[in-house]
Subunit: 332 residues, 2 copies
């Protein structure tokens, strides 16, 4: 596996999108986000997505030429229409506009509708933290989890992401999807022909399953069972129902190129910590990070990811030869 | 067990607090909250707390005569000082002031510091939903959970509560504390001399335990293990570090009458759903509730509690004779 600089990987990805019916500015935004996912060690949200994304812009499921638009409907409220394009240009627009609104009111909210896969939610929140804000995001995804006791998927795996800046070192970043395990683990078990542990997923009738093929026709089990389902509902209401995005049961796949756009939603809340917390607030966040780091065996969420980024920036990002060839062949 | 009207129970509780060095208005506020907890079926946050609360106002750990104060530091930001009194008068002040701020900016945040036990977080959020707002609360509690891999409690059981109004019927209410099981279950096992299942709690050195006595010296296991711990950290940062309240490791007990005030925090975010979501937003919330209710075996969070309230309002609240006698004897 050869390694490449972040800039080289950016060009590789950007050019693939530009060959696949995506505008230069959108290709640039998507490439930046996918490289950031690689740098965060989240390869499942990085270059492994390029072929799938490009297929969707070629088929028109995603509008590669969409221009997101924003409307400030109140002093602290921003409505963003991703216009059935990729999510990243809309998230960039949020990043441009929301911080000043948060600084003015002390808090501000943005709802991004007609959106698509938001990738690594924690990385997006970390950018707001790097701008001095406390940030919270709710994102919905295509149907994956049933209400507790039910058997039809009404909620996605629905990440909650949060970041807080601190006075020394990188942001504290929480990024938690609400399924007990990632769906990718079940897909991996299917490919290997292995059974999955009971408790990861339910079959189409809500029954316990260990066969990954049946599990993939059913629903994922949330973390913390009934409590986790309640949190997934909260995320669904915040990310979709509140802002008029498609709920999980109506959202098409983030992977294939078929059908209408997913039309999912992301809702972001940004808080100016100095308004509500005064001048020492970043020291208090640092104190918490220090208290965690002082316990052997414990680590501060986000910090391993930040270390990895530094290592990859210094040593290069490895790309398997077959993946590189696949990306280079897209749109040719 | 005799039953009493909500008004009768209110007078019983209010008068006990007035005999125990608590001002009439604070006694009224606390009684209203504890009766609301009973009506929600959350008896562990209801009348069972009166003796403990009154002991704390008598000892001065809680200032029964505190007057909470609010300062609007930005258009969408409210700082509330509970002044080491009970939490409920401060939460009442939040309920009075935050909705108009949320309607103006589309979103508003309140941080309540020098606070105490907030009781049933979902009931407080439901009041904001009944005023037409989407509401989200983070509350920290005395140290109960360690960072993942560690063994010293830095986080409380830290509830997240959420409520959304809908166009027909009662609010959707999510109320989730982040420990796998309530500490009360371990205390009950101790009283019965029974072992607890592995996975509920860890001992003082972070080891797996089944002895409830050792478990009570250690830490609670979060729901969803590492993911739940990350959410507990998020709540701790939002409810305490952000607003300058005591973090869980510095907060004294909500139960005994010893030592300084707990000084914990509650952070509430209120959103005007019509600003960001337009005029049909309450119908979309209702659609989600209907989709859940349509699945046999599933139920809409908050609705069972609302039914119970109607039943108890009609039929009366049962109070065990010994508990009633105990409350009547307080401060005499």
């Amino acid at each position: 596996m050869d390694t490449f600089t972040a800039d080289q990987v950016h060009v590789l990805v950007r050019d693939a999108f530009m060959r696949c019916d995506t505008s230069a500015s959108n290709a640039d935004s998507v490439a930046t986000a996918l490289v950031a996912a690689e740098l965060a060690g989240q390869t499942g949200h990085g270059l492994r997505r390029v072929t799938s994304y490009c297929g969707q812009s070629l088929s028109g499921k995603v509008n590669g030429h969409a221009t997101p638009s924003a409307e400030k409907v109140a002093a602290g409220t921003l409505k963003i229409d991703a216009a059935n394009g990729f999510a990243y240009p809309a998230l960039d627009l949020m990043q441009d506009l929301l911080p000043d609104m948060a600084r003015q009111c002390g808090i501000a909210i943005a709802g991004i509708s007609r959106s698509h896969h938001c990738g690594v939610a924690g990385v997006i929140m970390e950018k707001l933290a790097d701008a001095g804000l406390v940030a919270l995001m709710f994102a919905n995804t295509p149907g994956a989890m049933a209400p507790w006791g039910g058997n039809k998927a009404l909620f996605g795996t629905n990440p909650i992401a949060f970041a807080a800046p601190q006075s020394k070192g990188g942001a504290i970043v929480v990024d938690v999807s609400l399924s007990k395990v990632a769906r990718g683990k079940i897909m991996a078990a299917k490919q290997k022909g292995e059974a999955i542990p009971e408790g990861w997923a339910l079959g189409p009738d809500g029954e316990a399953v260990t066969d990954p093929n049946i599990a993939l026709q059913g629903t994922m089990v949330p973390l913390g069972d009934a409590k986790g389902t309640a949190l997934a509902l909260m995320v669904e209401l915040m990310a979709a129902s509140l802002i008029g995005a498609n709920t999980a049961d109506k959202a098409s796949s983030f992977f294939d190129a078929e059908g209408p756009a997913p039309g999912v939603g992301q809702t972001v809340i940004a808080i100016d910590p100095t308004k509500i917390g005064g001048e020492n607030v970043l020291d208090r966040f640092a104190d918490m990070a220090d208290s965690i780091a002082a316990q052997s065996g414990a680590r501060v969420p986000g910090h391993r990811r930040q270390q990895l980024k530094q290592e990859l920036m210094a040593n290069g990002i490895g790309i398997p030869a077959d993946l590189k060839a696949e990306i280079e062949a897209l749109g040719k």
